[in-house]
Amino acid sequence: MQFKLNVRRYDPEAENPAPYWRAYEVDVPENASVLDCLIHVREYVDGTLAVRCSCRSAICGSCMMRVNGQARLACITKAKDMQELDEVITVEPGGNMPVLKDLIVDMDVFWNKIRQVKPWLEPVQPVPEREYLVPNETILDLTVAMNCIMCGACVSDCTSLEVDKNFIGPAALAKAYRFVDDPRDEDRQERLEELSGDGGVYDCTHCFFCVEVCPKGVAPMERIVDIRERAQGAGVTNNAGARHAVAFEDIIRDSGILDEPMLLLRSIGMNPAEQVKNLPGGIRLLRAGKLPLASGPFHHKIPGHGNVKRLFEKVETSQ
């Protein structure tokens, strides 16, 4: 079957290195993957095309790239499905990481973030002579996070990382969850505090892209939410993220509508230095119309706000 590909290429050794598009037409079996198409190009059409690949069965995580605008593993992306979506299959390197050549990106960015979460078990002492005894349910839960093959699809398409390079990011946080929820790990509390701080779980904006693009069902954003719940449950609440979550809930429960200045104040906490630091941000919000005038000192509860409170109670008792 004929497939048309448009591949975004980049040669760092060119005279004036700049990305460019190159079109290819390949004749491969109907059930070919996008990776099969690229390998065909590399082997028989244009050997200069650089792509990382190895296992061909979604376990090594090498061939993450953007196909038709979304991060995918090329080896399990059927060319036919992609061509049905668009007439030409668009292939680009993954996002949020510098391109080294063609479809090969610099994963150091990715791994540095993984290293940031102390990605190894700190065994609970004393270490038993035999194995630690762990319920199988816990193992099944951890298996979801262990399914991660570090392909970087979530990092490629993370909208928070795009604007905030400081964010630890979906892959590293999913990895962190794997230790937070492991009963054999001694550093749980310390990890929860660390992960609730700067660049941590509260920097995720819940855009769901990582859940959508993850080829292994790890659903990083859900693991991020899991960490938040575990942290708040463990009393790790003295941070802007947790305060923001609690204040948000309190305000809605009480008045049925958000009181933005109050939310901001409560999130920052009773720390004058922090308040001053956040002042320019507050002014920018005000200018952009994100702090409605009918709030703050003028904040009013919505009519029928009692119903909102009852909704909360109903949800809480049903849980």
Binding site: Y44, V51, S54, W120, L133, T143
Partner: protein, 558 residues
Amino acid sequence: MLEHDVLVVGAGLAGMQAALHAARQGASVAILTKVHPVRSHSNAAQGGINAAMEDDDPWEDHAYDTVKGSDFLGDQDAIEVLCSEAPETIIELEHMGVIFNRGSRGQIDLRAFGGQARKRTCYIADITGQVLLHVIYEQLMKAGTQVYEEWFVTSLVRQNDAICGVVALDLRTGALELIKAKAVILCTGGSGRVYEPSSNALICTGDGYAQAYRAGAPLMDMEMVQYHPTTLPSNGALMTEGARGEGAYLVNAKGERFMERYAPNMMELASRDVVSRAEQTEINEGRDIDGCVLLDVRHLDRNTILQKLSQIRELGLEYEGVDIVEEPCPVRPGMHYMMGGIKTDIQGATFVKGLYSAGEAACVSVHGGNRLGANSLLDTLVFGKRAGMSAVEYARGITDPNVPESRVEEDREHIGGILSRSADDGERAAALRLTMGQTMHEHVGVFRDHAGLTQAQNIIATLKERYQHVGIDDKGSVFNTDLLFALEVGLMLDVAEAIVAGALFRTESRGAQFRTDYPDRNDDDWLKHTLVYQGDGGPRLETLPVTITQWQPARRTY
């Protein structure tokens, strides 16, 4: 000048384990790998890792199953090491953070696997290798071990009869460097790409076999190439033996569980060589479905499939469009594993001073003529550790090797030759590889005979001739994957040559080697290993006795 006490080549389980244990001895250690460690092919081991974990399961029983599985070609001193050190290896992994599936008391659960008299396989769903690989990599990050990531060894440096470093290509920059090392450990894995199709990843090009062979180290039992009974017809991907461990059936076109004719006791869980031969016989005699038999799990509990076999369900859906919960899945024997490899002793030392090896790259030999499922992960860890420790011990006795920088020029010249030719004017590496792979599958697969092997030998010789003119499109330095592939194909042709030589030499049928012209096992003449050295006029063959400690060869039935 790049310099280390110990340089490990390859960062799969064996390589990382070797590096971790070498570093713990206080040596200066680095790993060199052509892909990031977690991209290594140890990932692909789905089903599990064997160990006699239960009190009423002495390790000797595991050892006997392994000896029998090997068709009595395994060296029993090595098998004793493998099986007696297995339980402590599992506990070590568990303490490192491996999340083994658990039984009712929270203890490590066991599943059934082929060729074994009882359940003995520790596992994590069907992603055991992946979890082990990622956890060992966590330890490597913790240890802060230096990794030459995305580097490729172009040759081993041998001086005064000892290995004292490597010449390697930095794929990111194209720089060719000399890395001095008092000891080098090859943990470069197998060579599935020598065959077409194969269950193996694209990186499994047997680099270490060829590098060692070229440096004068012998390869052992290279004819012992495992065909896995359940690979997918569309791309050779593996469906774990764990499926049969959980109770899956193999069925032919007439709906018969044909294994009852070949292995009435163990049925689908006979050893892999036996099951693959049975399938191929069914296929050859016309009881096939488009060249396949069927793997049927429909009678298993739905939750078992979803929890324990989820990855192969995905693979079935992805590549065959078959949901194994609803339909049987077509499978056929596919090239999967090299029992043979660089000959080492139980400390990982090869016949060349300063050169060590472990994992699929090595042949200790614990697998002999046929490897039991879930013994390969164990092999990588037990012998990776030993190779790491003994390499350090050796390195301590070595004074600084004096290698001239000019040694790099030999390799630069070779690479320059490839770069100077275009793919259109010269030979295309991909075409050479495809012909090699198809030839090996056709003539050096499940069934072999003299005529076919001779034909394969001639074809490989011709391909080696044509390879002298190999050319490439990419003339750049940064990530020249075109060049990398051309270099790999050159190495693979040497591996193919060694496999064919071993298969022609061994005029008997044992384990994975089935010669239709010599259909019986012949203990009188062939209870021994084949050794192949690279000679001036082609491969030079020798034999080595099998080490037998407590189990005498017996008739092998399942």
